[in-house]
Amino acid sequence: MSKQKQKFLEVSTGEHFTTGNHAAAEGALAVGCKFFGGYPITPSSEIAEHMALRLPQLGGNFVQFEDEIASIIGILGASWGGVKSMTATSGPGYSLMVENIGLGMMTETPCVIINVQRGGPSTGLPTLVGQQDIMQTKWGSHGDFEPIVLCPSSVQECFELAIEAFNYAEKYRLPVTLLLDETLGHMSERLIIPDASKIGKVERKKPKDSPEEHLPYKADDDLIPPMAVAGEGYKVMVTGLTHDERGYPNLNVETQDKLVRRINDKIRLNKKDIIRVEEYKLDDAEIAIIAFGSVARAAKGSVNRARKNGIKVGLLRLITIWPFPDERIEALAEQVKKIYVPEINYGQITREVERSVHGKTEVKGIFKLGGAIHNPQEILKEIEGDA
């Protein structure tokens, strides 16, 4: 098959040299995304541009909306229209989206948001890296919900986790955030896209009962309700108000308790399925680094250099940021005498690590405030300085 023809397949099987942004877009297409709504923002715009090019070829739709608010609510609408949908943005745009990410949580709407992080607050550093949206993805929208947030650290993983983001969104019925950063979004490296048959796809659970019997928010034992969408005759009733199993607004303590517990517990009780970490030279480690995103690449270098110098350092790389891998970190705290947390912010994951270790070991953040990733030597210096 000629390369020209391959361009028009959902799965661009083959070896590529490309950016994290393009890899994430290709991952979304490979898993069947058919609607993209977005608004230009650096450093994520290449994702929108790639979707504008590729989606019409695959029978999908790209709409450039008037702002990020319209983009997120547009993809919620498209999801209820029955297709897999996505948007992509950066910090300021994510800030505009959070209200309607909450609507997606409350109405249990599968969709994916890619946030390519830059330095903040405010307009901050549009073209330079940051990791400052960690807490925004967890607490940005009001009310209680448990988000799923995935954080790749290579171009290959941008592709793979875009697929997983959709799979979690479909399986657990919620908006899932794929958290890139500017360095990762714009750097080029090798990407191998497997054969289409190797792409694992999860589709939302469909109701088995008739429209007359169907209760749109009655969950199965796994706490996830099957999802009928518009046009299937189920006369779906969807509201951001507190609602009962019929989907009807029901503004009382009991309904609120039952609903909010369920939309949180469907994630909390499945943490084992959702939480992913990479362990690097941790087996005999006396000191650990916990890192994520592009910084984890530098941290790996620090581990190797430290070991050359005779210090037993290992790396726990967070792939799932939320729900937080607190149990794994607590176990690690029993093993090592100190945990270093390099991150491009003023201490976001560090606080979560401090919470997770329950005082069992010392935690030290290594903060860069935005604009560049850590140099492996910088992290090493910190470790050696304390040794």
Partner: protein, 286 residues
Amino acid sequence: MTEDQKELLESEAHPLDGFLREGRIPHIFCPACSLGSITNVLIEAINESGIDPKKIAVVSGIGCTGRIAGYLNFDSFHTTHGRSIPFAIGLSVTDPERKVIVVSGDGDLFAIGGNHFIHAARRNANITVICVNNFNYGMTGGQAGPTTYAGQFQTTAPYGSLEEPFNIPNLAASCGAVYVARYTALDVRRVKEAFSEAIAKNGFSFVEVLGSCPTTYGRRNQLAEGKKILEFFAEKTVLNHDADTRDVRIDKDSPIIVGKFVDIEDKPTLTDNLLALQRVSQAKKG
């Protein structure tokens, strides 16, 4: 009275049974609010459109009018404040045969949601937008809004509003809507006709209905009963289909000009354009 009429009167059945969600009535609307009769004619217009009910979706934002979607027994979506229109676009383009009707209030569509309205009209999104304009924020207790006219009293305009209200039909027309009509809730026959025509239209069709809100608009403006508001409408309304939309602004003393102001045929919709784009991009294949 004929036997049939007598039977109908004594029966517990209602002609609109099946169109309203079971267990959702009584509604939350105040006595003498016009949203009941507007909901009624909306259902009639949808029913008479002949469109497969499976292909109907109704979307609302937040507010009194925003509650209408949730009473209707179609696929219905009660979204966030101001955001019904882009949600409707997402629903609309994912099925070219789907008829998506947005019904929401003036504050929802023209203050917090104003940006979405103008862009949806510009794109000619294939949706029908119905705005019930009650000149204030009803659900939150009667604050001034983007349609509050100068001299009108509201809780956040205790000395009378000083601002110029939106001329909504002119906004819709100037942004590219293919159908623009305005009637008052007093004239439900014309409101229904406008709904029917708007629903039958391909592209961005828009109907403004001037509604009666005795509770939070009327009682601060010497119109404390629903009947008084309707009388006020009857007194001030001038029917003029040929009016230039630039001349249909509403203020304290002006006549209320109503009519069908815009009706354009055969303008490609957003959905048409997206489908054409798919064909063009796929034709380059191989």
